[in-house]
Structure formats: structure tokens, C-alpha cells
């Protein structure tokens, strides 16, 4: 089960990078950036997973046996998701502005700065 998670996350990251590198539409580049983020988040939350582990909550003060999944990566994943959402929002607002200024989203035409 964990192996599939890792494979899926790598596939997502590679697909995201593929989209960023090959797609000429600025909007699709933003989608690619999102995919990379999702892949990393999946890998992050899988890194803390333990088979048959329970949620990391102390339910009773008398409880002596614990077999938790690692809670730290879950906290990190939340942080990373929030950052990812912010990146997407900022990127999309820039895409809107690019459309206003250049009248196109084609990255081959948005290249006034070169050389």
C-alpha cells in the first residue's frame, strides 16, 4: 500500500514538471505547479504512515499501548497545502494580469524580457 503512495507521488511530480516544461499555456503551467505540490504532499503524508497505526490522539490517561501514525508529517502537510494554495492563487492573479497586458497566455509570446 505504501509503495503505491510513493509511486503515485513520483508520477504526480513528474507529470507536473512535464506540464511546466512543455505546455505553452500559462494557465496549464499553473496547473503543473499544483500537480508538483500535490505529489509532494502525498509523499509527505505517506512518510509518516505506519501500517495499522491509529490516529495520533491520546484517548485515555490510562492508555499504555500506543501505535500511532507519525503526527509530524501531517502537520507539515497542512502547512505545505496552505503554501501550495497561496502559490496557486498568486500565480493565477499574475496570469490574469498577463492576459490584460499581453492579450495572450502563450508563453512563446510573453517574452518581452530576454537577452
Amino acid at each position: 500500500m505504501l509503495l503505491e503512495n510513493y509511486l503515485c507521488s513520483i508520477v504526480l511530480i513528474v507529470l507536473g514538471l512535464y506540464a511546466i516544461i512543455t505546455k505553452k499555456n500559462a494557465f496549464k503551467i499553473v496547473i503543473g505547479m499544483g500537480l508538483v505540490d500535490y505529489g509532494i504532499n502525498l509523499m509527505l503524508v505517506s512518510a509518516g504512515f505506519r501500517v495499522n497505526g491509529t490516529a495520533p490522539i491520546f484517548d485515555a490517561p490510562t492508555q499504555t499501548q500506543y501505535f500511532f501514525v507519525d503526527p509530524v508529517p501531517q502537520a507539515l502537510t497542512l502547512t505545505s497545502i496552505v503554501i501550495g494554495a497561496c502559490v496557486t492563487a498568486l500565480a493565477l492573479s499574475l496570469v490574469v494580469k498577463i492576459k490584460e497586458h499581453y492579450g495572450t497566455l502563450d508563453t512563446d509570446k510573453v517574452r518581452r524580457l530576454n537577452g
Binding site: 514538471l17 511546466i20 509530524v72 507539515l76 518581452r112
Partner: protein
């Protein structure tokens, strides 16, 4: 009390961001007061750390919420300020303080200033947090906030298409870099189940470098190479530097790429302790050498003031990387010294570019000219910066460049490897080309003929000149007192780089460290000799030359002959035109060094095609660089 200083210094900057956002829209002066107070307090707090850390050699650790390690296992987030962190922390707070003062007047023509200062302070706080933190994930969060704020500031003048375009490219490439860093962090966590840098250092010290660790290492090197704008991940840097307001460009070259360099040093020297391997040294020196060479040749071909400075910024980071890649005491001293100097003189140059933009409204080298008559102070300060970056004594650039030359040469003597002599030669050539391109800027902006449209240009206000004067003074001080700078700033930082054991001992406890470092914590001997560098005599020589120049000028030695009747045919295209004062035949930026550019046009056309402005290609360059670094590490580093 001292323990709390770093966290307060960071919080003050973030608090300044939020408070200026809350109250700033009501009144301009209140907002300026808040910003001044916040940046000033942060500077004072960091300076208060100077005595205990730099002079007494303490390392300050602070556990957030007092989550100290339980049974040798770090759980909480810790701050750890060693001498290296404080060295970069001082660079950050000084730059931010001066940048904020400069912004007050410089940004007064723009609207939306309340938002500007919020993002400005976020940038400042995040970089300070980045250099002070002792936690791998915290490093990622801080550098992501930094990228975010930097993108926001690049896009600040969003009525210009160039700003938006640069910001979008910077965001795409920068977030690939951040993603690489995060992926590396995840892999490290999966291996070691801890995020504390000190503990990872300790665990790695005894662990085999498995392929998984090398994978994480390569990802992080790629990520921080993007953040430090190392060739070939540099392509978005000139766009962003040129499009951002000048006070922000100063922060970009002063602290944003320094953050990348800091991350690189922290990882390769302390955490992974990999710099005793010749193959790692070669990797950094190689990257540094191509960075300085490509940066400076691209700068020669530019016709925009700020874009040219941006390429120089990349080139100077190449010097820093080459020097620290040598991994000798001399090399590290030169590298850190140059990092400090680069912040000072490049900050000064960007502020001068901002002053020119403020007075004339353009930074196009082909339109400007003769501004020295209208803006004498800016011209003089620019000359100081240009001398410093070109490595002319007695300014600071000379000292650090000399250390770099000497370090590379000594390295080649040590290892019997003639390749390092080649690096010395490249460094010398790059320095000459730096001087050449600054002759071009000085000539085409400040000297020559004043175009008619700039006849009303005026000197910039005092509050913009004060930061420039301070930076110029610091340039001179760092040039004539190199031994003091090295003793009080550089030497402790270099020793901190070289002794990872202390870093672990302070954070995780002495007992833990002795368990890991069974052979004891070695403190390297610090010895260096600066051959043939006597600042006092150079200062005297400089003074004598200045007086001689002034005497000749006063006796009329430089008065050109006036030639009448050159209105019709523009004299600048004649074979001999120098020394003639023909009307409106200003030698513009593109007129200089065209012979060089013509003879090497193959190279220049190729480089122009590489910087083609298509964001997909830029992303490809970053990804393939990381892939190559990964391949290199897997093949050559055992």
C-alpha cells in the same frame, strides 16, 4: 536574556509588517514611523548578539515553546544562531534598514504603499528567520515566504507589463526550486524522523551516504542553486531585478541570493559535512566559475542599467561560490568576505540606479548621459560602488577578490591541480570585464553629453542619499581595515563552518555530541596570510593620485578644445571622435566595446538565444541542472 534576542529580532519584522498593514493606510508618516522602528529594532537586537556570539564565541539556541529534546530526540522547532548565522543575519538587518530608509522617498510617487511595506517587511523577516532557524522544514517555510514576498515585490509596479512578466517567471522557476527543497526535506525526514538540523548533522556523521540521502542532497543543492541564482538557474534573476523597484533590487542582491548561499553553505559544510570530498569541491568551484564568467559576459551585452547590474550580481555570486567551494580557510575567508562586500557595493549601485530612475524616469543606457553635472553626489557614490565592484584599491572589492585569487592559487599549489590556476585566471579576466562594463555605465550615464530631455534632472532628496553614503562609507571601511573585518566577522563564521560538532553540542547537549563525535570536536587552526596587501600604502597612493588629478583639473589640463561646425554629420561616427565636444554626439552604452561584441558575436548570439524569455525553457534548465547534479553525485561521490 540573550537567548530571546533572535526570536524577537525576527518577530519584530513580522509584527512591523502586520502593524504597518493595519495602521498604514491612515497616515503616511505613521507607517514610516512603524517601519523605521521595526527595522531599527531588529538591527539593534542583531547587533546586541554581536558581542556574545562573535567575540565570546557562544552559540545561541532557543526552543520554541520550550520544547527541549526528550531523551536525545528533538521534537520542537529550534532556533540556533551560530557565528555563520549571525554573519548573514547582520547582512540582512543592515540591508533591510537601509533599504527601508531609501524606500520612504523613493516609493513616494507610487500608490499602494501600504501593501508595499507589508510585503517588504515579510521579505525581511523571512530571510532573517531563514538564517537563524535550526530546523529543516522551517528553512523551507521561510524560503517559500521569501520567494512569495519577492514575487509580490517584483510585480509591485503592475501597470508595467514587464513587472508582471518577470514576476510570473520568477514564481514558476522559484516555486520549482522550493518544491525541490521540500522534496529533499521530505526524504530526509523519512530517513531520520527528525527535522532538527543539529540532530540530522549528528545522525549523518555516523551514517553511510545511501542513495536516498544522496537523492535528497542533490535535490536540495538544486533548490538552493535556484534561490542563489547560480548559472544555469539564474535566468529569471535579471528580469526580476530589473522589473522590481530599486530599493527591492537592493534587497534581492543583498539578501535574497545570500539566503540561497547561506542554505548552500549550511547544507554542504555543516549538515552533510561533504566538503572534504574533492568531487564536491570540484562541483561548487565549477558552478561558481561558469556563474562568474557567464554573468559578466551577459552584463557586457546589456543596455539597461538595472539589468546590467543584475548580471553583475550573478557574476559576483559566482566569486562567492567558487571561493567557498575551495573549502580551505583562505577560500572560505575570501568567499564570506566577498558575500559581505557584494551586499555593500551592489546595494550602493542599485540605489544609484534607483536615484537615476527617480530623477530621469529611465534606466536605458542609450538614452541617459551627462548626469554628473546634475547629480554630482550620485555620480560620486556610483564611482565608489563601481571601483569597489571592479576590485580597485582601496575599496573592499579588492580585498575579497585578492583573497579569492590567492585562495584558488594556493589550492592549486596544495593539490597539484593546474585546474585551479585556470580558475584564478578566469577570476582575473572576469574582474577586468567587470571594470570594462562599469566604464561603459559610468560613461553612458554620468559623463558625456547631457540629453536635452534631462536638463531638469535634480539631485535626489537627502533621505535617499543617506543610505547611499552609509553604504559607500562601509565599502571604504571594509577596504582599508581588512584585518579588523576578518578578525571580528569573518574568522568566527569560518570557524563555525568548519566545526559542525559545536553546532550539534549546543543544540542537542554536550553528552549527545560526545556520543556522536567520539574522537572529540576538532577546531581547525585559523591561519591565513594576505600577500602583498598593505591598505595604508594603497590609501596614500589613492590620495596622491586624487590630488594630482585635482591639480591637473584645476590648472585646466582637461579642458577640451571646442570644434565648431559638427552639427550635420554626427561626430561620434567619425574615426577619431574622442576629445571633441561636438553637440549631441553622446557616446551611448551600445557604442562602447562593440569591437569585442562583434568579434565574439557567435558567443554573444548563443547566450542571447539561451536567455530567450520563454518560461518553459527556464523551467527545463532548472530541472535538468538538478538532474545533472544528481547524476554527478550518484556517480562520483561515495
Amino acid at each position: 536574556m540573550t537567548n530571546h534576542l533572535p526570536i524577537i529580532a525576527i518577530q519584530v519584522l513580522f509584527l512591523g509588517a502586520f502593524i504597518s498593514g493595519l495602521v498604514g493606510y491612515k497616515s503616511n508618516s505613521l507607517r514610516k514611523f512603524v517601519i523605521f522602528l521595526a527595522t531599527g529594532t531588529s538591527l539593534v537586537l542583531t547587533l546586541m548578539l554581536f558581542k556574545p556570539v562573535m567575540m565570546e564565541g557562544q552559540i545561541i539556541s532557543y526552543w520554541m515553546g520550550n520544547w527541549v529534546p526528550v531523551s536525545d530526540w528533538a521534537i520542537g522547532i529550534g532556533l540556533e544562531v551560530d557565528q555563520l548565522s549571525l554573519f548573514f543575519g547582520l547582512i540582512v538587518t543592515v540591508t533591510v534598514f537601509l533599504g527601508a530608509i531609501y524606500s520612504f522617498k523613493y516609493m513616494s510617487k507610487d500608490n499602494g504603499q501600504d501593501k508595499y511595506y507589508v510585503v517588504f517587511m515579510m521579505l525581511a523577516g523571512s530571510v532573517l528567520g531563514f538564517v537563524f532557524t535550526g530546523d529543516l522544514f522551517n528553512m523551507y517555510v521561510m524560503i517559500e515566504i521569501m520567494t512569495f514576498a519577492a514575487v509580490g515585490l517584483t510585480a509591485f509596479r503592475n501597470h508595467k507589463a514587464e513587472s508582471i512578466e518577470a514576476a510570473f517567471k520568477y514564481l514558476v522557476v522559484g516555486s520549482i526550486g522550493s518544491s525541490l527543497i521540500l522534496l529533499g526535506t521530505v526524504v530526509m525526514y523519512a530517513q531520520f524522523k527528525t527535522l532538527n538540523l543539529a540532530q540530522i548533522t549528528a545522525l549523518l556523521n555516523n551514517a553511510q551516504h545511501t542513495p536516498v540521502i544522496l537523492f535528497a542532497f542533490a535535490l536540495m543543492i538544486g533548490g538552493y542553486a535556484v534561490k542563489a541564482f547560480i548559472v544555469p538557474c539564474h535566468v529569471v534573476a535579471p528580469d526580476a531585478y530589473a522589473a522590481a523597484p530599486s530599493s527591492v533590487s537592493m534587497l534581492f542582491s543583498g539578501i535574497v541570493n545570500k539566503a540561497g548561499i547561506y542554505g548552500m553553505i549550511r547544507l554542504v559544510f555543516v549538515v552533510f559535512a561533504s566538503m572534504n570530498l574533492p568531487s564536491m569541491q570540484f562541483l561548487l568551484v565549477f558552478l561558481g566559475t561558469i556563474t562568474m564568467f557567464i554573468g559578466v559576459t551577459m552584463a557586457l551585452a546589456q543596455s539597461d542599467f538595472k539589468r546590467l547590474l543584475a548580471f553583475h550580481s550573478i557574476s559576483q555570486i559566482g566569486y562567492v561560490l567558487t571561493a567557498i567551494g575551495l573549502s580551505t580557510i583562505l577560500g572560505l575567508t575570501g568567499g564570506l568576505y566577498h558575500a559581505l562586500n557584494h551586499t555593500l557595493f551592489k546595494g550602493l549601485l542599485f540605489l544609484c540606479a534607483g536615484a537615476v530612475l527617480y530623477s530621469t524616469g529611465t534606466t536605458d543606457l542609450n538614452k541617459l548621459g551627462g548626469l554628473a553635472k546634475k547629480m554630482p553626489q550620485t555620480a560620486g557614490l556610483f564611482l565608489v560602488g563601481a571601483f569597489a565592484i571592479s576590485g580597485i584599491p582601496p575599496f573592499n572589492g579588492f580585498v575579497s577578490k585578492w583573497l579569492v585569487y590567492q585562495g584558488t592559487f594556493a589550492k592549486s599549489m596544495e593539490t597539484n591541480n593546474p585546474g585551479y590556476v585556470f580558475v584564478t585566471i578566469v577570476a582575473l579576466i572576469v574582474s577586468v570585464m567587470t571594470l570594462a562594463s562599469f566604464i561603459k555605465v559610468t560613461q553612458s550615464v554620468f559623463f558625456g553629453q547631457l540629453p536635452k530631455e534631462f536638463e531638469n534632472a535634480e539631485e535626489v532628496p537627502l533621505s535617499m542619499r543617506i543610505p547611499m553614503w552609509i553604504l559607500a562609507a562601509l565599502c571604504l571601511v571594509a577596504g582599508i581595515l581588512p584585518t579588523a573585518v576578518i578578525d571580528y566577522l569573518i574568522k568566527p563564521a569560518v570557524l563555525a563552518i568548519k566545526s559542525a560538532g559545536n553546532y550539534v553540542a549546543v543544540m542537542m547537549g554536550q553528552e549527545y555530541a560526545t556520543k556522536i563525535y567520539t574522537e572529540g570536536i576538532a577546531i581547525p587552526k585559523y591561519d591565513y596570510a594576505m600577500a602583498g596587501w598593505n591598505p595604508t600604502s594603497w590609501l596614500i597612493l589613492f590620495g596622491v593620485l586624487l590630488i594630482a588629478f585635482a591639480l591637473v583639473a584645476l590648472t585646466g589640463g582637461f579642458n577640451p578644445r571646442h570644434i565648431v561646425g559638427a552639427e550635420n554629420n554626427n561626430a561620434k561616427f567619425d574615426v577619431f571622435f574622442s576629445g571633441e565636444a561636438a553637440e549631441h554626439s553622446h557616446v551611448a552604452g551600445n557604442d562602447l566595446f562593440w569591437g569585442l561584441k562583434h568579434n565574439l558575436k557567435g558567443y554573444f548570439h548563443f547566450m542571447h538565444d539561451v536567455h530567450n524569455g520563454v518560461v518553459n525553457d527556464y523551467a527545463l534548465m532548472v530541472v535538468s541542472t538538478t538532474a545533472l547534479v544528481m547524476l554527478y553525485l550518484f556517480l562520483l561521490v561515495k
